[in-house]
């Protein structure tokens, strides 16, 4: 199976307090931010690796995992980390974040999918910076492929994927014929969430994503990392979403301590007016 994984580099949400907005309010100041891969995209990569291996022998890849990111030269570090954890090839589309929106990324990805011809496109359900939750759905629409969003489990079948999605009151299971677009949720990295045809159903993965080992990090230098111009993927680089201004959220007001439950209820009723 060949899988294309879209991977975005985002500002570390744990350091969100470092996000600054200049007085002009026309942009976000990214200087001094710490960067990391979008967690949901890392889960997508982990799912892709699990789908292309026998869980017992995770070093041998059955199929191909190609990772793609949209970003400046520095984002190659993110791609190298992905290569070091097991991806076979990487592609960087050379562009900066402020020149992109979800629709443009989806258009460019469509062109890339037509070149690469993967069986599955896997990506996070959303990026934790913009939280747009659009690219997967838009891409499926542009490709006219089946899609499953918010996957919590994936089992490979012959020519299809069985995708479990957590919904209110239970789990909805979809069978999507390949090729397909799947976006993943947090639980996809639980020990028994993903099974390729090769992996025994009794196999349990470590919880979470795998970490790159030093030998693999060094070997990843030899894996192909291609650069593509955005213009080579789509002639239309217009943006549908335009930002008119940025401002920081209002500072949180100090909380209060309530005496007892009766006091809490009274305040919820009279002050917060939510009851």
């Amino acid at each position: 199976m060949k899988i294309l994984v879209a991977l975005k580099r985002v500002a570390d949400p744990d350091n969100a307090n470092k996000v600054k907005i200049p007085p002009s309010g026309d942009r976000i100041d990214t200087a001094g931010l710490e960067w990391k891969p979008n967690p949901f995209d890392e889960y997508a990569l982990e799912a892709a690796l699990r789908l292309t291996e026998d869980g017992k022998a995770p070093k041998a890849r059955a199929g191909e995992v190609v990772v793609v990111t949209f970003g400046p030269k520095e984002t190659e570090q993110t791609l190298r980390a992905a290569l070091a954890t097991g991806a076979d090839r990487a592609i960087r589309v050379d562009v900066t974040d402020d020149k992109l929106d979800g629709a443009l990324v989806a258009r460019a990805l469509k062109a890339l999918v037509e070149r690469e011809k993967p069986d599955v496109v896997l990506m996070g359900k959303q990026a934790v910076d913009g939280d747009s939750n659009q690219v997967g759905q838009s891409l499926a629409e542009l490709l006219d492929w089946p899609m499953a969003t918010f996957a919590a489990t994936i089992q490979e079948e012959q020519g299809a994927l069985l995708v479990g999605r957590e919904v209110d009151g239970g789990v909805a299971v979809l069978r999507v014929r390949l090729p397909a677009v799947v976006t993943v949720d947090l639980r996809i990295v639980a020990p028994t969430s993903v099974y390729s045809l090769k992996t025994a159903r009794t196999h349990k993965y470590n919880d979470g994503v795998r970490f790159a080992a030093l030998p693999a990090i060094m070997a990843s230098k030899k894996k192909p990392l291609a650069e593509v111009k955005l213009a080579d993927l789509t002639a239309d680089s217009g943006l549908k979403v335009q930002y008119h201004g940025f401002e920081p959220p209002p500072a949180r007001k100090a909380g209060i301590k309530v005496k007892d439950v009766a006091d809490l209820v009274a305040r919820l009723k009279n002050e917060a007016k939510v009851l």
Binding site: Q77, R80, A81, D207, F211, L214, P215, M218
Partner: protein, 575 residues
């Protein structure tokens, strides 16, 4: 006088020579290696975050086997083993950086990894034959086999040459038979491969024994005692080892038979840098905790971070850590640049690393105050874990003596040459003229520190002046004491501490100069300020040390100690 009079920055400094080409530019890893290491550190941090609970390791007195195997899977066991033997072939700087990270996360794990590769397998790397390397390194690199370094015995701690463990060549000359025991061997409970030091000459009073280093497989019959109960680093394994007619093939002699002492010293020289690097990491963890605490804890209507005495502690810690980090990476960079003799530099880094960490742990606990003392909080464990570093891999007393005596031995030889030249004027002419030139240099003007940035000129002058002091004190005490200098430990301590501060200042100057050149004065503000604080602290110490050389109560102290030994106690009681 040739520039490369000594292949060591510090040894040259004892001659008054400032080998600037060893300081500038301040070393750095290749960009490839930097990238590899930062990817690895990312994995290490995440692995520890998800799997390692230091408090639990401390309580259980063991590192869970899953954690150890996870560390092996990450490739952390063969960091400096060359690629052709299955390792990652990291440079010394990169190795130090990884050990720094591990030291910042868990001391028991840092010590376990260090015992394995900073010292346990280091002998094979430095002295092994190609066959020995091929046989042992690949499995050590993956961690399938773990290594340990077995030197210490009940009667041979600091005095390593006193080992009693005996290795006797079998009549057919094919193997040695080992008998004896070792104590306090890190990784002793589970290691598969040991670097063992044993005597290959009969024990004779007053005669230096011949030591030989051996690679010994556990399967040859090495037995371990039970785990020791320790103050700190409780997750690390520390046991006795017993050798009872353990047969070791002659092919397993490491280096030359009879040259084991040198093997031990070289291994420890290089191992000490790993210890210093781990100390940097632990300091960083502590200082982060201290900073968090002082911004959170309120007293007298303010955050305690607002009080001068607290700010003073934080600033001191930062300056000390900056100097330690600069010294350690300078020394590591010297090794990577192919400098063969870094024994003084690494000993200095070990002393400064362990003592900086001890003071940072102590001050952080003091800042935390009541909660610092409680086992429900991490401070007391960090303090306990930090304590070992002043003791093992050479006690700090022994290392001070080593720094002084080894540093002074060059000038000492030069003085002997002068004496000889006086006796044999013709033969000694060459020696004499060489010395005369050297002497003229220190008289006519001190050597210059020319490559520091002008913003640091005050600090550079201080360095030059005290280099001059080091040289003249060295010469004065050598003339005064001659060979007896070996017994003059008060003098040794002062000389060593002057040398330590000089190395610290030199390292800060080189590193901060690079920072200014790259980022300008404002961009390098933090480095400049810390250099200024560190140099100020060093200056006050140096002033005292230099004064104490002339004016001290050494003899009185010796007498008081001797009398106390006779009294066998503190002699007073107010009753």
């Amino acid at each position: 006088m040739p520039r490369n009079i000594e292949q060591s920055f510090m040894k040259a400094l004892f001659h008054g020579v400032i080998a600037e080409e060893m300081l500038f530019p301040f070393p750095e890893m290749s960009s490839d290696e930097r990238e590899n290491v930062s990817l690895l550190l990312d994995s290490v941090r995440r692995f520890f975050g998800a799997n390692v609970d230091s408090a639990k390791i401390d309580r259980a007195c063991r590192i869970p086997p899953e954690v150890l195997s996870g560390l092996k899977d990450l490739g952390l066991m063969g960091l400096q083993i060359p690629a052709q033997h299955g390792g990652a072939g990291l440079s010394s700087m990169a190795y130090a950086r990884v050990m720094q990270e591990v030291g910042s996360l868990d001391a028991s794990i840092a010590v376990t990894l260090g015992a394995h590769q900073s010292i346990g397998l280091k002998g094979i790397l430095l002295f092994g034959t190609e066959e020995q390397k091929q046989r042992y390194l690949p499995r050590l690199a993956t961690g399938e086999h773990m290594a340990a370094f077995a030197l210490t015995e009940p009667g041979a701690g600091s005095d390593a040459a006193a080992v009693k463990t005996r290795a006797e060549l079998s009549p057919d000359g094919k193997h040695y038979v080992l008998n004896g025991s070792k104590i306090w061997i890190t990784n002793g409970g589970f290691a598969d491969v040991f670097t063992v030091f044993a005597r290959t000459s009969a024990l004779e009073e007053g005669k230096k024994p011949r030591l030989t280093a051996f690679i010994v497989d556990r399967s040859a019959g090495v037995k371990s005692g039970p785990e020791e109960h320790k103050l700190g680093i409780r997750g690390s394994s520390t046991t006795e080892l017993f050798f009872e007619d353990v047969r070791v093939p002659v092919e397993n002699v490491l280096g030359e038979a009879g040259k084991g002492f040198r093997v031990a010293m070289e291994v420890l020289n290089s191992g000490r840098l790993g210890l210093a690097a781990g100390s940097i990491g632990a300091c960083q963890t502590l200082v982060r905790m201290a900073i968090d605490r002082v911004q959170e804890r309120r007293a007298f209507g303010r955050h305690i971070g607002g009080f001068g005495l607290i700010k003073d502690k934080i600033a001191t810690m930062l300056a000390q850590i900056y100097a330690l980090e600069s010294m350690t990476y300078l020394a590591a960079g010297l090794i990577d640049a192919g400098v063969v003799d870094y024994s003084l530099e690494s000993a200095i880094c070990k002393i400064v690393g362990s003592e900086t960490l001890w003071s940072v742990a102590n001050e952080t606990l003091q800042i935390a105050a009541g909660i610092g003392y409680m086992q429900d909080y991490p401070y007391e464990q960090l303090l306990r874990d930090a304590r070992i570093n002043l003791i093992f891999e050479g006690t700090n007393e022994i290392l001070r003596a080593f720094v002084a005596l080894s540093g002074m031995s060059g000038p000492g030889r030069a003085l002997e040459d002068v004496a000889r030249a006086m006796r044999e004027p013709i033969k000694g002419f060459g020696l004499l003229s060489d010395f005369a030139i050297r002497k003229a240099r220190t008289v006519l003007g001190r050597e210059r520190m020319t490559r520091t940035h002008p913003l640091l000129s005050r600090e550079a002058v201080l360095f030059e002046e005290h280099t001059g002091q080091l040289v003249s004190i060295t010469e004065a005490v050598l003339r005064k004491h001659g060979r007896d200098i070996a017994e003059m430990q008060y003098v040794q301590k002062r000389v060593a501490e002057i040398a330590m501060d000089l190395f610290g200042i030199a390292a800060c100057l080189a590193r901060t100069t690079r920072a200014i050149e790259r980022r300008g004065e404002e961009g390098a503000r933090r480095e400049i300020d810390l250099t200024s604080i560190y140099t100020g602290m060093a200056q006050r110490r140096l002033k005292q040390l230099v004064a104490d050389v002339q004016d001290n109560d050494d003899e009185l102290r010796k007498a008081v100690a001797v009398r106390a030994y006779a009294d066998r106690a503190y002699p007073f009681d107010v009753l």
